[in-house]
Symmetry: C2
Subunit: 328 residues, 2 copies
């Protein structure tokens, strides 16, 4: 997969301390998935294995900088962030009734709603158990705030479904902030908290960087849903439209194309309908504009990175670029 290869090269470029940490992360995730009963070993393990890019743990590790020999606390922080992310994916799939994620059956498809809801709950619980071992209440606070925000973002998205006229760019960005960016912020804060560097990397500016990368990630993900192509994304164009989810490309296209502004999303009921709307959005130039918006956010994030060791700074810039390149 192109995306995995992309991340693999990021891991290599991030510094020699990162690949062993990523291995340790995978090991710990596997142990956790296996340690809480048979049903969960199967489904929790599947979810975690299918979890993908590990972008959030990677951020934790890069922000922490060169790791010392004993790095259990740092790995726990990364594990906790990834578990919250996985828990959210499992519950999202329950609500969407999604059958496949990254080409594999979802937990809800394989085990039913009961198993999937419970699996998500367990992943939530284990995230906090893991992080508590670090003995730093401010870390638990950062993670639970991010996880609350995530849920609020998800709710906002459902409340706004099928109501394109109600979703301003500002409201859309606020939703992305809650749903995606806050967990990237938490990743950066936890990385700073666990850094062996003295002085530790400054958590506030790094949090701003994480926020920008998370926002850009979500914006470009939403662009990809409209742009496709399906052979690259593994799903038909316009699945968000079929769910009634109003994203930046549609918001911008509605400002340019009166027909789209009049469109009732409830009339978009088939993949064929969705494909036609995607073509209209693209023809209105809204994909390019949304991409430019994301690139501007990433550019500003890179420009405002605080003073950091050269190698660490370069690795963070690579992550930011990697998020963009994924969608180039």
């Amino acid at each position: 997969m192109a995306v995995a290869a992309n991340v693999e090269s990021l891991v290599q470029a991030a510094g020699s301390h990162v690949p062993p940490l990523m291995e340790e992360l995978e090991h710990r995730l596997a142990v956790l998935a296996g340690g809480h009963g048979e049903v969960l070993a199967r489904h929790g393990g599947d979810t975690i294995a299918a979890g993908g890019k590990r972008l959030r743990p990677l951020l934790v590790f890069i922000v922490a900088g060169e790791a010392p020999a004993a790095c259990a606390g740092l790995v726990r922080a990364a594990v906790a962030v990834e578990l919250i992310h996985s828990a959210t994916l499992v519950h999202d799939d329950v609500l969407d009734g999604a059958r496949l994620r990254r080409g594999r059956p979802t937990v809800v498809a394989a085990g039913g709603r009961g198993v999937a809801t419970a699996t998500g709950d367990l992943l939530f619980s284990r995230a906090f158990a893991e992080l508590a071992l670090n003995g730093r209440p401010e870390e638990v606070q950062a993670l639970s705030d991010a996880s609350s925000a995530l849920v609020q973002g998800e709710l906002l998205q459902r409340a706004d479904a099928f109501q394109p006229a109600a979703v301003t760019v500002e409201r859309y960005l606020h939703r992305c902030e809650l749903k995606t960016a806050r967990l990237f912020v938490a990743a950066c804060r936890l990385g700073a908290s666990q850094s062996p560097l003295r002085p530790q990397p400054p958590p506030e500016p790094l949090g701003r960087f994480g926020r920008a990368v998370g926002l850009a990630f979500q914006l470009l993900d939403d662009v990809l849903d409209v742009s496709g192509p399906p052979e690259r994304t593994g799903k038909a164009r316009g699945t968000d439209l079929l769910d009634g989810t109003v994203t930046l490309p549609l918001i911008l296209a509605r400002q340019r194309d009166p027909d789209l502004a009049r469109l009732d999303l409830r009339d978009v009921t088939t993949p064929g309908d969705a494909e036609l709307v995607c073509q209209r959005i693209e023809a209105a130039g809204a994909l390019e504009e949304a991409r430019r918006h994301a690139l501007a956010i990433v550019g500003e994030a890179k420009a405002t990175l605080p003073g950091l060791p050269t190698r660490q700074r370069a690795a963070l810039e690579l992550v930011a670029d990697g998020v963009v390149e994924r969608y180039a």
Copy 2:
């Protein structure tokens, strides 16, 4: 309501420090429910308000003993335990498609599955955020272990559904331990951790007491599902049977009544069927035996309470008796 009045008198008898703590608990729960967006204010607030008996916070407060003027940490511990309990109820109702809980519409009935899953997730997150403020990692660990156990118990119950031959008394008790008793244990441990008494109450023996009270609570709840009467429980007899949930009364009755041993729970499809099975279970004497089992657990719990101030010991015995009386 008889149950509420029962708890009200428990609160009064538990010591003069408890009623103001219970008020503080309600206040803090209301603030938390209201502080995370409009949708959640409505549904989270409803759930918490309908949350019932507050038995777990009561245990936290009694175990802690006489509280000092500043008791924020103690209230946070009680709030966190109650939030985990509420989160579980909300998710259970999603999975069961339950329409009513304690005579009020469930979150899933009022807001749909999306809102209810998210509401449960938010209550989970806020529980850990709240407890993290205490700055004691071992508290977060105790709570997340309880919450993981709870999920595993729920899964075990679903895995065993409709398989009475597979559910031994031992397996049933293990499920009750996971699903119910562990959160009572956590309540006792958190109460001990936040106690202003010197020396602090011993967490291990108190944990054993909490476990016994929790087990008895679950056993008697399962008896009540079979015994009714509906005008007292607010639901028809035998709802567990209709869900395929195998509980102690059925396990014991199957040992005594060959017809029940041959019964396929999938054939119990109407409330009328369930009522007939309940009558057979009762006629086999299994309700009395299950009750005796629960009473023995409570008796042992009271007998093995560690050395504690007289007033505190009396209050804990009252809680144990209260759990039993609820079902007398």
